[in-house]
């Protein structure tokens, strides 16, 4: 389980660690700006899984997520010379990825295909899976498959802005302030969107929440 949460370790950690991470990133960015392309590889290795996860949860398509994540890294690489460090590198990178995903989703809103990654095996041993299986009197593997489908379906029923806020806050663990920076809106707007998105999700997933 610890491996699964390792990706979000930085985001769930204290603000001082965030600042330390931001300064490490800035040093790497400065190396890339000075012409050290290998430093960008370090940034890719550090953020590829988080970036992929955001795009995957927004698009619900693993192939699109792969292409868009790569595109986001290329865009970041091309424009890294203009990065001044006003915001943290990951906020800047997430903004590029979210904008690319939203543009892709708007452009292809009539042509949508879903393809999901497998849920980890470890989830079937989790306390949550036990409780849900007891509650719904269902076989655990069946429950997990069904739950994955229902969760994705519920997320896809949200508007793009609501979905983005939920993905960034609940799944990726960003703070309201960070989401506001990524989405270029106020924190109030983020809170409001999150509130309404959760209300909608609760109604879609009420069978599992009772």
């Amino acid at each position: 389980m610890s491996r699964l949460f390792a990706n979000t370790k930085i985001l769930d950690s204290a603000p001082s660690e965030h600042a330390a991470e931001a300064s490490v990133d800035l040093a790497l960015v400065q190396r890339v700006q000075a012409g050290d392309v290998r430093a960008f590889d370090v940034l890719i290795q550090k953020y590829r899984e988080r970036l992929y996860a955001i795009i995957y949860n927004l698009t619900a398509n693993r192939e699109d997520a792969s292409d868009l994540a790569q595109e986001a890294f290329i865009r970041a690489f091309r424009s890294i010379g203009r990065f001044k460090g006003d915001s943290s590198f990951f906020t800047w990178l997430y903004r590029i990825a979210v904008n690319a995903s939203l543009t892709h989703l708007k452009r292809n809103r009539l042509r949508r295909f879903f393809s999901f990654d497998n849920l980890s095996e470890e989830i079937s041993q989790s306390e949550l899976a036990e409780t849900l299986a007891d509650k719904l009197k269902t076989d655990k593997p069946m429950l997990i498959k069904e739950l994955q489908e229902k969760l994705n379906e519920a997320l896809q029923r949200l508007s793009l802005n609501h979905r983005t806020v939920v993905v960034l806050f609940e799944i990726e663990g960003l703070s309201h302030q960070e989401i506001a920076q990524v989405m270029e809106c106020s924190e109030g707007t983020v809170r409001s969107r999150l509130h309404y998105a959760k209300l909608q999700l609760q109604s879609y997933l009420q069978d599992y929440l009772r």
Binding site: F40, A53, Q70, I171
Partner: protein
């Protein structure tokens, strides 16, 4: 002693949503991702940035529009008959003010003849009435009378003349006619 009733554990929306964190691709996926991304990064290094491409494209488009505009102005200048009169007027005023004799421009309304492929001496007077006797009657035979045929000079002089005799009516075209004809051909 009654058994304490076990309150069912409440599952929250947040817990359900965090299950999405477990949807991750395997390590083999990341190997392919890294390989593809590495190729793309190096390709991006080799290619100019998209904004420079865009600027180059914009510049090309602008040049294309400028060329098209220049061509349209040129065609308009040729097709519009008034410009000759304007030039004549300005030439006349130039003559009046400076005393220089300006060359005569043909009017667009006047026919411009292409005095074709005959030697200059033959162009002196070739109106049908004054045509030499050798042009009248049946077609001459080159084998019997080679003097009848004129050699076409290597350098052909196309001369424009004022309408003092309709000698080669078939060769007479006004500039406006030629423009119309060229347009018809183009369409």
């Amino acid at each position: 002693m009654p058994e304490p009733t076990q309150t069912p554990r409440k599952i929250t929306l947040e817990e359900l949503l965090r299950l999405k964190r477990h949807e991750r691709p395997g390590p083999e996926y990341w190997a392919r991702f890294d390989r593809e991304l590495n190729e793309k990064v190096w390709r991006a290094l080799a290619q100019p940035a998209p904004h420079t491409n865009w600027l180059a494209g914009l510049w090309e488009r602008r040049m294309r529009w400028l060329a098209a505009g220049a061509a349209a102005v040129a065609v308009g200048f040729v097709a519009w008959p008034g410009h000759v009169a304007t030039i004549q007027k300005s030439a006349a005023s130039l003559v009046a003010t400076t005393g220089f004799s300006a060359p005569q421009f043909p009017s667009a309304r006047e026919p411009v003849r292409v005095a074709a492929i005959f030697p200059t001496s033959e162009n002196a007077d070739t109106s049908p009435a004054n045509a030499p006797a050798r042009y009248a009657g049946s077609a001459p035979d080159a084998s019997t009378n080679p003097a009848v045929f004129h050699k076409v000079p290597a350098t052909v002089a196309f001369a424009t003349e004022r309408p003092n005799g309709a000698r080669f009516a078939s060769d007479t075209l006004s500039t406006a006619d030629s423009v119309i004809r060229s347009r018809e051909t183009a369409y």
